[in-house]
Symmetry: C2
């Protein structure tokens, strides 16, 4: 296991860590990654400047529409934008100037302080997939998600040393009323995990409920000064912000909490079919959303998000985990760094309906683009199948394992006297063997990250052990992880206050299906 | 034969190309890739210099042993190395100076000139996996490879638009005598494919047979002036060159053909368990092998190879497709570019025994490192399972499809007025739809690469179509591709000369099993 914990704060006490490591070598993940390798920069300065010019042109000439939120229009008017009806046009440079007040990195606090995450800069945070209405288990059996599934995925996230964040809507609990399910979701994150989490974004009052629950955990004053909850808000691409969305963005900013601003562009539908144009549009949309947070509360944390996809020529369906969005994400990373904002980009995407070879060739290409583009907060790191529509138990395990591999990958190749192995070359002669050398003995522990899902046995032993495929092993692992799960301890007073708050909120309104 | 590959011509006549494209949109692959994105450079100048200093120290102080080849020792002595017994020590700078005469890029000619490949520089050539004794089909059923399997894999390679090179020992034809099987292997490449290929390296006379067969195809004079065959030769790591290997290296160089020089380092066994040390050793070994080609024939083409792997702590088994070799390969690429030699590095590696999720998460991580590190000749691009021991029909199809995705990935994001889509933003207003815009209609063809193995249908349609996994679809595809295969035409005189040569060679010696 890489010695990531050295530079990043270790989780829990040294004694608890030793005990955990002895019982299960997996339980020693760091709270987040501090990368040792630079992002992958594929685009020339000249072409970046051309895309930025197109972004400025879209903002100034095409403009963005803001529906059903007069306060937002008023904020733009005061800030110097041109407002005609609900169409807003931004003079060149205006948004960049406003964005200068947003922090380039910030801490999102977890209720277990050892699990607080640093978002921005050289840091990388993995969070589970978000938003699927369906759930799959045992391969491709699909059904609607429930609150029990939701709790299971929170527990599975908490059990993985390679995820850092509990996420948000890990699946839609479709068995609960739409206007109340956010209360149960936020509670599940707080009770079954002690990591940082996300709140509701489907309506302003649900966002405020989520933030209020965070206040019960962290204290109102602490929340006003620190980020403890994120809200992931989508632009209604192309170039349209709905009033529900802008009110939610402003609710998070007003509370000094971080909105994640994300366009949703299926190339050829909600944006141009050409990648450079889709990037320009998405960046324009996101810049406006991020700037809005600063008008609502100067200095509030905000995350610059992006999302790219492609389309099947044969069927017109959206496709995911394909090469064009992977390359496009690398460019988005370059552009985001020039804005100095924390980045959310890509994730583990696939169109496959099974946790099979297609799922992981697409997922790995997509996930590598996320870490290589320099994304700081990687939502959708684990669980998606079926073109974002389904959360799969088996895929969750496979993806979390890939997140583990990326911990080691992002450390790169270390260079010091020990790593260069000069002593080994003095000891082992040409044609010799390093296995018993003192350098190998001193270094083999921790030299290589080891998957808990991969089968690395010789063929004969693999056959002897049943000849299982990776999805079957993943099925065994999530069932075991759920059986082993214990909720992290929580203060009884906080627990009761949350339960009481939820009961009052639920009693205050009838169930609704929207 | 004219060097048609200079301008990367399309395959076959325009008419044949149009016909092929109409019948099957897959048949339009380019003869090789010219990358539009730079390699991924993860290591600082300072650390690269430290590794280079360790390489020089290994070469000067530890030295390399050269067994059973007095002529090689004599070449080193004349060139100024210190030779004591069979241990050779290289003064700092000596090998770099010798390597200056090796070409930084060259053309390997194919018998169909449209398929000639350019190796080096910004070019990327995909070749199938090499050397497995076993073959798998229908998932994980493993058996020894045969010449029929060999021919099948050559045909499957030829059928894929996303591979560029027919490769070499695509599997071991274990049903043929060891001392004669090279004749049937080279013949299979020539008859069932019209792409560039590789010859035997198991003994000097087998290398010479292979080259002689190439002379029958291309003409002796042409072969003396142009590269038409590659030989992939392994160092006996650590730091030992066997006489069989150096004689084969010299045989290829003597004929002005390109040896591919490759260390085989399993970290902790044939090299240090630390990646920086393993890289230093591998580069030292490869530099010596490449330099030897220049002493044999100054200016002969040669490919600088590298191979990194890791080890399972739990079992001591080698592991493949893991993160440390992926990161290490990126560093090897940086070092190779400083030497100015064409690079072979990484490939599609996995320890999985099935074409499943494990196979493709490992394979994709490994294969992305190959293209991102700037490798020019990517051997092992398609087919491996089982830690290099097995060639899988289904995995071959899945991997070749990934090679297709990488064609698009390596183009990066293009930037011009059309790609920036300025006209589209004038046409489509905020909240509108791009689907029917004139920009989308003008650009959707070719906007996105499309997999022929992935299922991108909606869930319901996927169920209706049988709910197949990717491995099952791959099984259907390779069977269809073999059924559809037709050998490319060959001159009857060349055909007869090859058959006659093989008959004479086979008659000249008894069968042997070594």
């Amino acid at each position: 296991m890489p010695d990531l914990a050295e530079s990043a704060p270790a989780r829990g006490s040294a004694r608890a860590r030793r005990k955990a490591r002895a019982e299960n070598p997996e339980v020693a993940g760091p709270p987040y990654i501090t990368r040792g390798v630079p992002p992958y920069e594929i685009m020339s300065e000249e072409n970046l400047v051309r895309i930025e010019a197109m972004i400025d042109r879209i903002l100034a000439e095409t403009g963005l529409a803001f529906h059903d939120d007069p306060e937002t229009l008023e904020l733009w008017r005061k800030a110097g934008a041109g407002v005609e009806g609900d169409l807003v046009k931004f003079p060149p440079g205006m948004l960049r100037e406003i964005l200068a007040s947003a922090p380039s990195e910030f801490t999102q606090h977890a209720r277990n302080p050892a699990n607080s995450v640093r978002i921005g800069g050289d840091h990388v945070v993995f969070a589970p997939a978000y938003g699927s209405p369906f759930v799959m288990e045992h391969g491709g059996d699909r059904r609607y998600g429930t609150i029990e599934d939701f709790r299971n995925f929170v527990k599975l996230g908490q059990s993985s040393p390679w995820l850092h964040h509990s996420g948000g809507t890990v699946c839609e609990p479709t068995d609960l009323p739409v206007n109340k399910r956010h209360l149960d979701m936020v509670l599940a994150h707080i009770l079954h995990s002690d990591r940082a989490f996300m709140g509701s974004v489907t309506a302003e009052e649900r966002a405020e409920d989520s933030i209020e629950m965070a206040r019960l955990v962290f204290g109102a004053e602490f929340v006003d000064r620190n980020c403890v909850i994120l809200g992931n808000v989508n632009v209604n691409s192309p170039l349209l912000w709905g009033g529900d969305a802008t009110r939610v963005v402003r609710a998070y900013a007003r509370a000094n909490q971080a909105a994640v601003i994300v366009p949703f562009i299926l190339g050829g539908a909600m944006g141009p079919v050409t990648t450079a144009g889709a990037i320009a549009q998405g960046v324009a949309e996101t810049m406006a959303g991020c700037a809005l947070t600063q008008l609502e509360r100067k200095g509030a944390p905000v995350i610059f998000g992006n999302f790219l996809s492609s389309m099947s020529l044969r069927t017109g369906s959206p496709t995911f985990g394909t090469p064009e969005p992977a390359a496009g994400s690398l460019v988005v990373g370059q552009l985001a760094r020039r804005l100095g904002l924390p980045l959310r980009c890509a994730g583990n995407f696939t169109t496959s309906k099974l946790p099979d070879a297609q799922a992981m060739v697409e997922g790995t290409m997509s996930m590598l683009s996320a870490v290589q583009c320099g994304a700081n907060f990687i939502l959708h790191s684990a669980g998606f199948l079926d073109g974002l529509l389904s959360m799969s138990y088996e895929k969750f395990v496979l993806d979390a394992d890939l997140c583990g591999a990326l911990h080691s990958y992002l450390q790169g190749v270390k260079v010091d006297d020990n790593q260069l192995a000069g002593d080994a070359f003095s000891e082992v002669r040409p044609g010799g063997h390093f296995f018993a050398s003192s350098h190998t003995l001193a270094n083999y522990l921790g030299a290589f990250w080891e998957s808990r899902v991969a089968d690395n046995d010789p063929y004969e032993k693999w056959v002897e052990n049943g000849g299982l495929d990776a999805a079957t092993r993943a099925n065994q692992r999530w069932k075991q992880a759920l059986a082993d799960h214990e909720d992290p301890p929580i203060d009884q007073g906080i627990h009761d206050a949350l339960v009481d708050f939820i009961a009052r909120r639920k009693a205050s309104m009838p169930d609704a299906a929207y």
